[in-house]
């Protein structure tokens, strides 16, 4: 298991060093500094083996996080753990920076003591950790509270403590999708997928059981099928969706390639009944992640036209088309057109928004605050180049950022029902909000 965790600043000075196992000596701290941080050639792998010791590392804004092990340990787990640790630290003191780490080093040691025991990750849920590891030292606690804490840390529902009360039971659901696209110069879609996240903010009293319904093809079809032939309600996970095309399902349902759930969701129930049921943590959390690849409506299309005139001049013309309902409006649109490093002058002309050449980033950045559906806009640029550079410039793809108020995958929340048996508030008393946001992930067009 994990033998130790180290945190370094960009210079390679140790900020935190916590050793869990006897087989990791002090020299491990130095070995990593010498062989990775100060190495002349940047290490090309996130795991390195130095003298039979494996170092797993990741870097966040100048800060190196490194886990060490001498055994054949679960590598996926170590990286998941490092990411979790970053998440925990961020939720405690914000950005991971040298200053923040230094100022909170006692807290970090305390956290490390709690979330790793002998190198085995323990409960690492931020909400629960915050209930008993605080920056102000331990609050004077009553006996009852202590047991609440320990049962929360170890319990079956490790992510929620008992006795939460709200005057108004409210929940917010955000469906946040990022659209990823790779398009060839000729406008051919090379690959595209939507990575969706459902973020829930719950302000609910007690231990509410929630049931969440979506327009997933399998679920929808099961439902319609069950209505048609209500005799056979259990046979669902094995049926292949495409064999029972029902007219209603085909229009509204989407095919989800894969989905993953927060640990509060009962996975066995999802497997057997395809229903998403859970007791949510208090506050904000990511309920579900999903991925779709079929029938994605791409909100924008970029059509590049690049012409090299001689060795010192380039002409670029970019057309952007929006492809969604005219009643909707896309926002925060930004198109980044890479320019060669030997660019000396750029003449820009755009119909809408503002465009600027940022020589430090080697790109033309074209921003538009908003753009309605089914519209088109154009930019043309004349780029003058210095002739000296011999190296061939490989054109990086044109990337685009945007935000649209719908889910490009067609994802729909059908229902979210709340049941709390002990506290006598019903589903209809809960106030629910749903919002759809479509964002750009890696949205690239090759030029």
């Amino acid at each position: 298991m994990i033998g130790g965790v180290f945190i370094y600043n960009h210079k390679g000075e140790v900020l935190i060093s916590r050793v869990y196992r006897d087989d990791i000596g002090r020299n491990a701290v130095d070995a990593f500094r010498v062989n990775v941080i100060h190495a002349r050639q940047q290490s090309r792998f996130p795991v390195v083996n130095i003298a039979r010791t494996s170092f797993f590392y990741t870097k966040r804004s100048n800060i190196w996080l490194c886990a060490v092990a001498k055994q054949n340990i679960n590598a996926a787990m170590v990286f998941e753990f490092l990411n979790k640790m970053i998440e925990i630290m961020q939720s405690y003191f914000g950005k991971i920076s040298e200053e923040n780490v230094k100022n909170n080093f006692v807290l970090i040691y305390e956290l490390l003591d709690e979330i790793l025991d002998f190198g085995y990750p323990q409960n690492s849920d931020t909400g629960v950790l915050k209930s008993f590891i605080t920056q102000q030292g331990v609050r004077p606690v009553t006996r009852e509270e202590q047991t609440n804490v320990t049962s929360a840390v170890t319990g079956q529902i490790g992510w929620r403590r008992e006795g939460i009360k709200y005057r108004r039971n409210e929940l917010f659901l955000d469906v946040i999708e990022s659209v990823n696209l790779l398009m060839s110069q000729q406008g051919q879609v090379l690959s595209t997928h939507v990575a969706g996240r459902i973020v829930m903010k719950s302000y609910l009293s007690g231990m509410p059981e929630c049931k969440f319904g979506i327009n997933d093809k399998i679920t929808v079809e099961n439902r319609t099928k069950n209505q048609l032939e209500s005799t056979n309600p259990n046979n669902n996970s094995t049926t292949n969706g495409s064999t029972y095309p029902s007219s209603t399902a085909a229009k509204t349902a989407i095919a989800i390639d894969d989905c993953q759930f927060h640990q509060c969701v009962k996975l066995s129930k999802f497997e057997s009944e395809h229903s998403i049921s859970f007791i949510p943590p208090d506050g904000e959390f990511e309920l579900m992640r999903y991925r779709t690849t079929k029938d994605i409506s791409l909100p924008f299309r970029v059509i590049p036209l690049v012409r090299e005139i001689g060795r010192t001049k380039m002409e670029v013309k970019i057309v952007v088309k929006s492809n969604f309902k005219p009643t909707l409006i896309g926002q925060k649109i930004e198109i980044r057109i890479p320019t060669p490093p030997n660019t000396c002058d750029v003449q820009l002309l755009c119909m809408k928004g503002k465009a600027k050449h940022k020589s430090s980033e080697n790109a033309i950045v074209w921003k538009m605050k908003r753009m309605g559906g089914m519209k088109e806009s154009q930019l043309s640029a004349e780029i003058e180049l210095l002739p000296n550079d011999k190296k061939k410039w490989n054109r990086p793809p044109i990337s685009m950022n945007f935000e649209v108020p719908f889910a490009p995958s067609g994802f729909k929340v059908r229902y979210l029902k709340v049941f709390e048996h002990k506290l006598n508030y019903s589903d209809s008393d809960t106030i629910k909000w749903v919002r759809y946001i479509g964002k750009s992930g890696l949205y690239e067009t090759r030029s």
């Binding site: 140790v14 001498k70 679960n74 202590q146 079956q156 090379l190 009962k266």
Partner: protein, 1042 residues
């Protein structure tokens, strides 16, 4: 922190502050102490002062003190004892958090005195009412085990830990699983963590409820379980499958590991498997949208999965397309997987992508992309043309490293599709000057040499290289030598001078033995028999295989058992990067035979799993079979019963006396005995590795020979056994007149009146009489030595034949021979000394006094592990009665101990005693009316054959130094990975010693030469013999790949 510079004053200051009354000041001081500790400053002097702070009832402060304690207790064990009381007190604190903290910390203090005091609190905490304390205590047992194993056994903590597996709290269960797994890994012999059905059930139940990390521990533990049957496996798979939807990638990968392992046990055609395949693919794809580090782990694992079961991801090519912003390690891995998934349907897309990548910036990535294009061409024939034209486009870019890489792959394309794309040679030649890397230069030279007849100025080109010959890399030098020889053979008239120049250069002016030896052999070849030279050098080359870079199957299987772990990331077995501790070698489970797939294999699988450290390393008589049987193709999972092949190998004598290089042979033989004891250390460490399933059964081979002989006798020749007729094989020619300079010796061995007798006929076929005949026997396996001098009437006149008998006894010096029954004999006369080999039939070694007491027999039979059992069947052709059979065997010193009838089958239990005192137990099963007699042989194998590999004839590294080839007098060639000391593959095919072995240019082929006068081309991946030459009369001392 930096203000802690003036050390003395500062420590003093801290001391004062630590002893201050104010809690705040104390706390600040403590923080400073910990900060100094972190950066590596020595603050151990403050130990007593810090210990004093422990009493304070403040959890945060306490934690700081404990942190300090964990760091310095080991250096100051005496002081650390001061803390014991506080720990004891804390373990009884009403606050569960404090109780847990105390137990957790105590476990981390590796001081004996503290450990002693830990036992009581730990016992209490393991039964604490609070689950938080229990889960901490569970891990503490593992800590204690790390410090003092005996204590854990003695105090019964293990049983308490096992009880926690049934705890009501899932987190406690998970930690108990983690602790037990670790303990059982450290001392696997104790079988602490006994995974059985009920335990697995408990774990699977806890799996649904515990935290993400707990799920990882449990899944990893489940993957070590071996299910009872396929139903068991299937039901576990069903219960693990939902985990694939977990957001934590470690949970997903560990589930994949369980599934991949248990899939082996299921019916591969079943619908369940197809369903599982469908469910496995999406989560794997989803892992590719995680953080780059996790993507990397996932991709390394997908690489394994694709190699094992390519169907799972066959339709997911697109997700492996490289994104512009991917980190380089992700890009390289994706590229690897892309090539593995390439097929005729998606080749167009892949090629377009690769072309795109070849214009990127990162040199490594670009190179790999170019190489990938070449691999596509080799893999998908329809696309070869497009690939070639893409490569030509890339060469036109004139980017140096792209051009070089392209030339290297084009060479491979030529080898795959000979006479198809040679039109582009002209383009390649244009770039000759820009090549500066050895591999590219060597490739170019190969191309020029290979197609010398089509390149008008080939001689000029090669001559150009020759000018800087001494500065070239060995690879290039070797290639240049071969290239010029090829050129010479094709255009002898114009290039005489060139070839002389290069041969002089390599034989006289170079220190590299490989180069020099290769030079010499070409020279000899060219000067003695140019025609033969042509045949050898310009021989048709084998096509190169489509898949490269595949992991060796057994390694792959082992790595599949380690999915998600570091081993799967490094693609190396754990023992190569983990220190010290005993590491269990994991392997994929085998599907049991009741499903009618591998019925023949059970004998084998037991032999394979029963990997005893002492194994016989013999692979006798395989050479002659290699033509008919694809022996190594089925290596990891034998699909045919090798016994069948043995029958054909009987009675094959291998008497080889080379007429040209007698002296050399004798020196080799002399050398052998030296080398046998003088193995390189690397070999010694590896003798225990399972090398070839064939070798384990070779005792059976010898014995089969014997029984095979009986077959012949009873059925074939029809000689009836009666009286004291003992089986004697017919005489055969041991030394032919041609080799014996007129002396012909034929002979056989027999056992007459309890003595081993060598019966020989000496014939003089020369023109003058011979005298002074004498005979000597080299050291051998059974210590056979002449008991008397050779008695032949002397002189021996021309055309006279004299029969003689030589009594032998078994008191001579012993040296293990190969095959076991091989005997090296030297005969001297007035003309010369002649050497020959003959095979002594094993039955002559059967001693008269081989009878065994019934009880002893039963006991011995049971003692011998199943793995040493060899089963065989033979035909009772002449339909002998059982009594006849018994008699006949008795005459040959095979003694019947007892005879019973079980289920209408006659069972005969017999023993054989060899002259060196080893008993072989035999069970004969005869079904009346059926002519087939089945018998099993058992012996204490390991005593009989010291497991030493034959002398190592030569050790050579292949081109890139990653692998190492050895050839040896055990007639095998082995491929080693020197850094991991793993024998990757064993190639057999030679019937005699292997003198030399070379690997080909692209590492895909081996070429070996041996005493048996054969030259073999062997395919590295499959071990198949691609081509065999038996052309040369003398021994080829070295043989070189061209």
């Amino acid at each position: 922190m930096s203000e802690l510079e003036g050390k003395k004053g500062e420590i003093y200051e801290l001391k004062a502050e630590l002893n201050s009354d104010k809690r705040e000041r104390k706390k600040e001081a403590l923080k400073k102490v910990i900060a100094s500790m972190t950066v590596g400053k020595d603050v151990s002097q403050l130990f007593p002062d810090v210990i004093n702070c422990m009493q304070i009832d403040n959890l945060e402060l306490k934690k700081l003190v404990y942190l300090y304690l964990m760091n310095y207790a080991k250096t100051q064990p005496e002081m650390a004892i001061l803390a014991v009381n506080t720990f004891a007190k804390d373990c009884n604190d009403p606050n569960p958090l404090i109780r847990a903290l105390a137990v957790r910390t105590m476990g981390c203090i590796r001081v004996d005195k503290i450990t002693e005091h830990l036992c009581e609190p730990l016992r209490k905490c393991l039964k604490d009412e609070d689950p938080y304390v229990r889960k901490t205590a569970a891990v503490c047992v593992a800590k204690l085990f790390d410090i003092n194993q005996q204590l854990v056994f003695d105090q019964g903590f293990l049983d308490m830990l096992k009880d926690l597996l049934s705890d009501s709290n899932p987190m406690v269960v998970a930690n108990a699983v983690a602790a037990l797994s670790e303990i059982s890994e450290q001392s696997p012999q104790t079988k602490i963590f006994d995974l059985n059905g009920p335990t697995i059930n408990k774990l699977l139940t806890a799996l649904n409820e515990c935290s993400e990390w707990g799920q990882v521990f449990i899944l990893d533990a489940i993957s070590n379980y071996s299910p009872k049957d396929d139903k068991d496996a299937q039901s576990i798979c069903e219960r693990v499958t939902p985990r694939l939807a977990h957001a934590n990638s470690a949970v997903v990968l560990s589930s994949v590991k369980v599934l991949m392992k248990f899939l082996e046990l299921l019916d591969q055609q079943s619908e369940f498997i197809q369903n599982l395949y469908r469910k496995l693919s999406p989560p794997l794809v989803t892992l590719l949208s995680a953080e780059p580090e996790i993507q990397y782990v996932a991709l390394r694992n997908i690489n394994l999965i694709v190699q094992k079961r390519s169907d799972i991801l066959k339709n997911e090519m697109k997700v492996f397309f490289v994104k512009y912003n991917d980190p380089i390690y992700v890009k390289l891995e994706k590229l690897d997987i892309m090539i593995r998934l390439t097929n005729a349907t998606n080749i167009a897309q892949v090629l377009a992508e690769l072309k795109e990548y070849a214009t990127e910036v990162d040199v490594d990535f670009v190179r790999k992309s170019v190489r990938a294009i070449g691999r596509c061409a080799i893999k998908v024939e329809q696309a070869a043309e497009r690939c070639v034209s893409t490569l030509i486009d890339l060469i036109q870019t004139k980017v140096n490293y792209v051009v070089q890489e392209a030339i290297v792959v084009i060479k491979d394309i030529f080898r795959k599709y000979p006479n198809k794309y040679e039109s582009i040679i002209a383009t390649l030649c244009e770039n000759l000057d820009s090549l500066d890397e050895p591999e590219a230069r060597a490739s170019m030279i190969w191309i020029v040499g290979e197609y010398a007849e089509r390149i008008d100025n080939a001689d000029e080109l090669l001559e150009g290289f020759l000018d800087g010959f001494k500065d070239e890399n060995t690879q290039v030098q070797l290639q240049l030598l071969t290239g010029i020889v090829k050129l010479f053979l094709k255009k002898p008239t114009e290039t005489q001078e060139l070839v002389t120049r290069v041969l002089t250069l390599v034989t006289q002016e170079t220190d590299n033995p490989d180069l020099r030896d290769r030079g010499y052999i070409y020279w000899r070849l060219l000067s003695t028999d140019p025609k033969a030279a042509k045949e050898v050098v310009l021989a048709e080359k084998p096509l190169i295989s489509e898949e490269t870079d595949l992991l060796e199957p057994t390694l792959l299987d082992e790595l599949i058992c380690h999915i998600g772990s570091l081993a799967s990331v490094y693609h190396k077995p754990p023992n190569t990067f983990v220190e010290g501790r005993f590491i269990m070698k994991k392997n994929l489970p085998l599907r049991s035979k009741s499903y009618g797939e591998q019925e023949n294999n059970t004998g084998h699988t037991t032999m394979q799993t029963n990997q005893q450290p002492q194994q016989v390393v013999i692979s006798s008589n395989v050479g002659s079979l290699i033509d008919d049987f694809d022996i190594l193709g089925s290596m990891p999972m034998p699909s045919s019963n090798p016994m069948d092949t043995y029958e054909q190998s009987q009675n094959r004598t291998t008497s080889v006396v080379p007429n040209l290089l007698d002296d050399e042979l004798s020196s080799i033989l002399g050398l052998d005995s030296n080398l046998g004891g003088n193995q390189t250390p690397m070999m010694n460490t590896n003798t225990s590795l399972p090398i070839n399933n064939r070798q384990t059964t070779s005792t059976g081979n010898e014995l089969d020979d014997l029984f095979g002989d009986f077959n012949l006798q009873t059925g074939g020749s029809g000689i009836s056994f009666s009286g004291n007729n003992v089986f004697v094989p017919p005489k055969e020619v041991w030394l032919s007149a041609a080799k014996g300079k007129g002396l012909e010796v034929s002979g056989t061995f027999a056992r007459r009146s309890n003595q081993i007798v060598m019966e020989m006929d000496f014939t003089n076929k020369a023109l003058q009489p011979m005298n002074d005949l004498a005979l000597q026997i080299n050291r051998n396996s059974f210590g056979l030595t002449p008991a008397q001098p050779l008695q032949v009437t002397s002189p021996l006149f021309p055309n006279q034949t004299v029969p003689t008998q030589l009594i032998l006894n078994t008191t001579g010096p012993i040296m293990r021979m190969d095959p076991l029954t091989n005997l090296q004999v030297a005969i001297k006369n007035n003309i010369d000394i002649f050497y020959f080999n003959c095979i002594v039939p094993i039955h002559v070694y059967f001693a008269q006094d081989g009878e065994m007491d019934k009880m002893t027999f039963v006991q011995t039979w049971q003692e011998i592990p199943e793995g040493n059992e060899v089963k065989h069947q033979l035909q009772n052709l002449s339909n002998l009665s059982i009594d006849d059979l018994q008699n006949k065997l008795r005459l040959n010193n095979i003694h019947t101990i007892t005879r019973t009838t079980i289920e209408q089958k006659e069972m005969l239990y017999q023993t054989i005693k060899l002259t060196n005192g080893i008993f072989i137990l035999v069970e004969l099963r005869i079904t009346p009316g059926n002519r087939t007699i089945s018998f099993s042989l058992k012996t204490k194998l390991e005593r009989k054959f010291p497991a030493a590999q034959g002398a190592i004839r030569c050790v050579r590294y292949n081109i890139d130094g990653n692998y190492c080839l050895t050839s040896g007098s055990d007639r095998t060639i082995k491929l080693w990975k020197p850094d991991s000391s793993l024998a990757i593959k064993t190639y057999t095919g030679h019937s005699q010693e292997v003198l030399d072995v070379h690997s080909s240019f692209d590492n895909s082929r081996l070429c070996s030469g041996g005493v048996d006068k054969r030259v073999l081309y062997i395919d590295v991946m499959t071990g198949k013999i691609v081509k065999k030459y038996q052309a040369h009369a003398g021994i080829k001392d070295f043989y070189i790949f061209n």
